[in-house]
Subunit: 135 residues, 2 copies
């Protein structure tokens, strides 16, 4: 019998919602997701939020807290949503997941004055993306 870590098998609702978010070029909001999956039989907000909660928990998607929106994880090393960093353009709202070894190392090792050690963080950078900067 194998002792490998089991890859998380998504349930039907989770898969439908993950696929939608994963295909989206921008973060999606819960009720926009709901609207888009109603034809597939997902009719109620709770069905969406439950799937989102699980997908966040297992690290397949991340929540952009300042925007109440969800984005698929494109950081392959990111098994659990414990260390996330994003850049957000304040004009076009483009959101990109940052994967910088230096940054994650720095933050993972950061200790505050009380010596409190953190198990998780979320960082959101705001600025102007290249396109919006030149306009």
């Amino acid at each position: 019998m194998k002792t490998m870590h089991k890859e998380h098998t998504l349930t039907k609702n989770q898969q439908i919602i993950f696929d939608l978010i994963d295909k989206s070029p921008e973060p999606m909001k819960a009720y926009s997701i709901l609207f888009n999956v109603q034809k597939k039989g997902i009719k109620a907000p709770l069905q969406v939020y439950r799937a989102l909660d699980k997908l966040v928990e297992i690290g397949k998607i991340h929540k952009i807290e300042s925007r109440n929106a969800f984005i698929a994880c494109h950081n392959s090393s990111c098994r659990v949503a414990k260390a996330t960093a994003f850049s957000i353009c304040e004009i076009c709202e483009k959101v990109t997941e940052i994967s910088s070894a230096g940054l994650s190392k720095y933050l993972a090792n950061f200790k505050d004055k009380d010596g409190m050690k953190y198990i998780k963080y979320n960082l959101e950078f705001f600025g102007l993306c290249k396109k919006c900067k030149v306009k």
Copy 2:
């Protein structure tokens, strides 16, 4: 005539709401603020949200995005809410503003691959505070 930067004079509503948040030992949510200031004549959500927006804009308070809650700024160098970092206990929900010169320097200088330079960031660390860790 003086050329000093003008201290932002708060309006009545802004002052009432700032005082409340400033006295609170924990972050306050908008509708809890509303409930607490109704006896002072602030009756509607919009009055609260408008004051909150302004207070955030001028850096007197910060929004804890993951909690939809507001906390007074205790970082005296923080004139504008452009660079914020918090620690959040996942059990007792205690929130503390982190003021670490090293951290803010590191983040202020962080550039991503595209060379995008950020004008603002918000960082939320999650973990267990001292009290909750020993329980």
